[in-house]
């Protein structure tokens, strides 16, 4: 028997690592991966609470979050490829103009 608190603590730690990755990395691909990690930590908390309350609603929410993450990744990677085609570089510090 695992206390549900452990899952919540693990989820918080994973979320924080993701947030830290967004703060310290300069590669937009790594920043995207960190965002995926944060979404994943949220999903873990959803499933833990779903098990705790014996309700399926948490798992349904995880399903929607996975769909939103897939959509976000498709659009975001298309943007990164397009920025790379224009600037020949994807350093996040040089993405400072909206109309490049």
């Amino acid at each position: 028997m695992v206390p549900v608190d452990y899952y919540i603590i693990l989820s918080a730690i994973l979320f924080t690592i993701g947030a830290m990755g967004v703060l310290i990395r300069r590669n937009p691909l790594i920043i995207f991966m960190s965002i995926e990690l944060m979404l994943n930590a949220g999903n873990l908390a959803f499933v833990a609470f779903s098990n705790m309350y014996k309700s399926f609603n948490g798992q349904i929410f995880v399903f929607f979050v996975i769909a939103v993450a897939a959509a976000e990744v498709a659009v975001g990677l298309a943007l990164i490829v397009e920025i790379f085609k224009t600037k020949k570089n994807i350093n996040i510090d040089e993405m400072n103009s909206l109309k490049g």
Binding site: G18, M20, N40, A48, I66, A70, V73, V81, F84
Partner: protein
């Protein structure tokens, strides 16, 4: 100490190590592979929590589709490791302290709101059978039918958006 707790502790160490490796490795391909490891361990957590359908979708959608897309883009752009730019010297210490504050306050808030002494029940045989999937499908297609359809529209919009974004030059040339 039950076997379930041992599995949880070992896998949580693996998950945290993989997440840290994802953030701190210099090579983007290594980061992607560390993230695949993290997603797989989280899928095992879903199995422990009695959510087999979510665990399988996690592996197929995240570890399969999304990470393959990431690896495609990393190798397409050929930017495995960026040249180190002159970074702000106070950025890392500030990020670490902010992350520490975030983990403390999120753990405190979640724990103080969650009902204490609740344990996660192990998936019994009934949960692992098809009944689980049937119940979940009934909930999704009765109670959550409208959000489900909105999600399909969202995926369509994302697909159209990705095509339009990467196809811009051809449209402009006409």
């Amino acid at each position: 100490m039950t076997s379930e707790l041992i599995v949880f502790l070992v896998l949580s160490l693996v998950a945290i190590a993989a997440a840290l490796g994802m953030v701190f490795s210099r090579n983007a391909v290594y980061s992607a592979l560390f993230l695949v490891l993290n997603f797989t361990t989280v899928a095992v957590f879903y199995l422990l929590l009695g959510a087999p359908f979510i665990a399988m979708s996690q592996i197929t959608v995240y570890a399969g589709a999304i990470m393959v897309l990431f690896l495609f883009v990393i190798m397409l752009l050929g930017v495995d490791s960026l040249a180190p730019s002159k970074s702000l010297p106070w950025q890392k210490p500030l990020a670490f302290s902010l992350a520490f504050i975030l983990v403390v306050e999120s753990v405190y808030l979640l724990i103080s709101r969650a009902q204490p002494n609740m344990v996660v029940t192990a998936p019994d045989i009934a949960v692992n059978s098809m009944d689980n999937l049937r119940e979940m499908a009934m909930t999704m297609f009765n109670q959550f039918l409208l959000p489900f359809e909105v999600t399909s529209v969202l995926l369509l919009v994302a697909m159209v958006g990705a095509i339009v974004l990467t196809n811009r030059e051809k449209v402009g040339r006409k």
